[in-house]
């Protein structure tokens, strides 16, 4: 009897969708969690494996998350090589449902025009080796939320056909809000079109392309490896000569490095949040861009 009781929660996890409870979805990032919630509404229960701010090579999954993943019906991830920690987790789980081609597994990069897709040979030549398949921070272009939520809608509808109309309505509402905000964001950034900026990490190419910024250099071309003094000397000199006014940092950037470069180059630092939840004000996908655009526009206005 006791054993049967112990099995009960597991059974519920599996059977719940059929009963009409919320779908258990696991995402690899908080941004995907926000998008799945936008489409799924109260018909989904979403858990993100990685916290909002993390080092891609240092994500440690907890036992409770493994259990969560085991009982989930859908895994949503960024894909490409954005989550080097995830293959081991999936290996541990050894669940055939979470493999490419399965309806329980979704990579959201399909249908997105990727940036920085040079071949590995060219990158080796230039001494940068960031991503094997192109830059993976594509959720930072709010325009990409359209194909991403489209893919999420497809996956959710396949798993719960009965709820499909409600998912579609949710997505439509979300996209309407997104379009309205996108207009506002573009307007806020319009006066600064073509402004050259320097970034701390190569996180922002999609964001910059959407809002008309030109990224000319990164402080840490290879994440986690501190730049050399000669690189910094050349960079700050170039920044002064080119009149770069803005330096985009992230919460995970080294504060001392960013401050040093700002002081020497005369640029203003603005800390942008790369993921939902990385700041209390960036609670969902739209709020994330509200906050980033607000901070950026303030800095750009002050730098004029």
């Amino acid at each position: 009897m006791h054993r049967a009781l112990a099995l009960f929660p597991l059974l519920v996890g599996w059977v719940a969708p059929a009963w009409g409870g919320p779908l258990a979805v696991v995402t690899s990032s908080t941004d995907l969690k926000a998008l799945v919630e936008a489409v799924g509404g109260d018909r989904v229960r979403v858990e993100s494996l990685a916290p909002a701010i993390h080092e891609p090579h240092a994500v440690e999954v907890k036992p409770s998350q493994l259990a969560e993943l085991k009982s989930a019906v859908l895994l949503v991830r960024i894909g490409l090589d954005h989550e080097p920690w995830l293959p081991r987790v999936l290996q541990t789980l050894s669940d055939p449902r979470f493999a490419p081609g399965s309806p329980h597994y979704l990579e959201t990069w399909k249908g997105i025009r990727l940036l920085q897709t040079e071949t590995p040979r060219l990158r080796a030549d230039r001494g940068v080796h960031l991503h094997g398949f192109g830059n993976t921070h594509y959720w930072l272009d709010p325009g990409n939320a359209r194909p991403m939520t489209g893919a999420i809608l497809g996956a959710l509808s396949r798993l719960a056909p009965a709820d499909s109309p409600s998912f579609e309505a949710n997505r439509k509402r979300f996209l309407e809000q997104l379009d309205a905000r996108l207009g506002r964001w573009t307007q806020a950034m319009a006066p600064y079109g073509g402004t050259r900026v320097v970034v701390a990490h190569e996180t922002w190419p999609y964001f910059a392309e959407r809002f008309g910024l030109k990224i000319v250099a990164a402080l840490e071309p290879t994440p986690g490896v501190p730049p050399s003094p000669s690189y910094l000397a050349k960079l700050t000199q170039q920044m002064r000569e080119a009149g770069i006014k803005v330096l985009i940092a992230e919460p995970s950037s080294s504060a001392s490095l960013v401050n040093e470069v700002a002081i020497r180059s005369g640029a203003r630092v603005v800390t942008l949040i790369p993921s939902v939840g990385g700041n209390p004000e960036a609670g969902d996908y739209l709020a994330l861009f509200d906050l980033n655009i607000k901070r950026l526009a303030e800095t750009l206005a002050a730098g004029r």
Binding site: P51, V225, S230, A233, A242, N279
Partner: protein, 432 residues
């Protein structure tokens, strides 16, 4: 070069300040055999700051500093109490356990406050390149005070470190002195790690003291050598980091390693020369056997696995291309020279155009957007062609390897093997 000076004088001053206190403390640490105590104390302090963060204080706040200090003093108490005369476990074990447990505890605590984890990690990484004048000044004053304190109480401290038995016989209050030592040491390490990172602090602590111990016995001698060496490595490491475009902290640490290796090599050669004077050429037999064995081994590897990475042969071929050309047909030789020339030209082209592209990107030179795109695509194509030329050279190299396999590998194996055996026999006859 002025640009370099502008960037490096402050890190250099910081390095000198680090050398001053750490070369001295390193003597104690080495004599007591508690090599990793600095890592443990730094980690304990980081745990303190992590808990302060969780309690709602920012990392740079005074409150966080007091938390760190309290935890460090706690660590000092632990280390001074855990020293026994005939202990069932060495103190190094306790230090290791404290390190591992406090690092793990910090992970557990950080898990509750994800938005601060990156900053806490940076407490242990530090960056010598971006120190501020204020930090260096504060550090210099703090270390001067601690240095003066250690000078005042040098007699008991040195005796306990270098001759604990005598200290015990004289009835010194070893635990209290130990506590004072570890507390001041913890204060130093915690402050240093903040700006220089764990690896660099460890190197400044151990390597100068270790080299001093290799070269002399007296404490003043060791200290002088340690200070001189620390300053020298700082200069070499910082310059190398600038000249070769390398991350600064890691370069200085590697320089420490290289210098220690050079000193050890020098001592080895000196011993060898002394033996050579005493025993004549027979002193060299051991080195000869090792050398011949290595030559034979390299030859054997070339015979067995011609396509594996033979870095030594690559270096020889780079210095003297004829070593490779000798094994190529005249036609292949022509291809070799053609590809070399193409690569040279391609790299020159790429360098010029990339500089051009950089100027456009930075906005110091104007170019219409369509032309900019054209330049970008041309650069991508041009570098692919150069990469292709490099592949041609690799193919030629692997062809040469197939022939060097027998014409070079077999003779090397034979010479090395026979040489080693002959020398071994000569040595046996010599000792017999």
């Amino acid at each position: 070069m002025w640009l370099a000076f502008d960037f490096l004088w402050l890190p250099f001053l910081a390095c000198l300040v680090l050398t001053g206190i750490h070369a001295y403390l390193g003597l104690h640490v080495l004599a007591r055999g508690v090599i990793f105590v600095d890592l443990a104390l730094a980690q304990v302090a980081a745990l303190g700051i992590t808990i302060a963060f969780l309690a709602g204080h920012t990392i740079q706040s005074d409150a966080a500093y007091w938390y760190a200090l309290t935890f460090t003093v706690g660590g000092a108490v632990l280390f001074s109490v855990s020293r026994f005369r005939r202990a069932p476990i060495p103190q190094e074990a306790i230090i290791g356990i404290v390190y591992a447990v406090s690092a793990a505890a910090a992970v557990l605590v950080v898990d509750r406050a994800p938005q601060g984890s990156e900053h806490i990690k940076q407490l242990l990484v530090g960056s010598i390149l971006t120190v501020t004048p204020k930090e260096v000044g504060a550090l210099a004053i703090l270390y001067a005070v601690i240095g003066a304190l250690h000078w005042a109480i040098r007699r008991p401290l040195l005796q306990i470190s270098f001759d604990p038995e005598a200290a015990l016989r004289q009835g010194r209050w070893i635990r209290w002195w130990d506590f004072l030592f570890y507390a001041s040491f913890g204060l130093v390490v915690t402050s240093s790690v903040r700006i220089a990172g764990v690896l660099l602090v460890f190197s400044y602590l151990i390597v100068p003291a270790a080299v001093g111990a290799l070269l002399t016995r007296s404490v003043t001698g060791r200290l002088t050598i340690g200070w001189a060496l620390g300053s020298l490595v700082s200069v070499i490491g910082l310059s190398a980091s600038y000249l070769w475009d390398l991350p600064t902290g890691a370069t200085v640490v590697t320089t420490f390693g290289a210098l220690l290796a050079a000193v050890a090599l020098g001592l080895g050669v000196r011993t060898l020369i002394q033996e050579l004077r005493q025993r004549g050429l027979s002193a060299l037999i051991g080195v000869g056997i090792a050398g011949s064995a290595i030559v034979g081994m390299l030859g054997l590897l070339l015979v067995l696995f011609p396509q594996m990475d033979h870095h030594w042969l690559n270096w020889v071929e780079e210095a003297a291309p004829s070593v490779q050309l000798l094994f190529l047909t005249p036609r292949e030789r022509q291809t070799y020279w053609d590809s070399q020339e193409a690569i040279r030209k391609g790299l020159a082209d790429l360098q010029r155009l990339r500089a051009f592209q950089q100027e456009v990107q930075w906005g110091t030179r104007h170019m219409p957007a369509d032309q900019e795109e054209r330049l970008r695509q041309f650069l991508a194509g041009r570098s692919e062609i150069t990469a292709g030329d490099r592949l041609v050279l690799r193919t030629l190299r692997s062809k040469a390897r197939e022939r060097q396999r027998y014409w070079l590998g077999v003779p090397l194996f034979a010479v090395g093997g026979v040489g080693a055996l002959a020398l071994a026999r000569a040595r046996r006859r010599g000792t017999a």
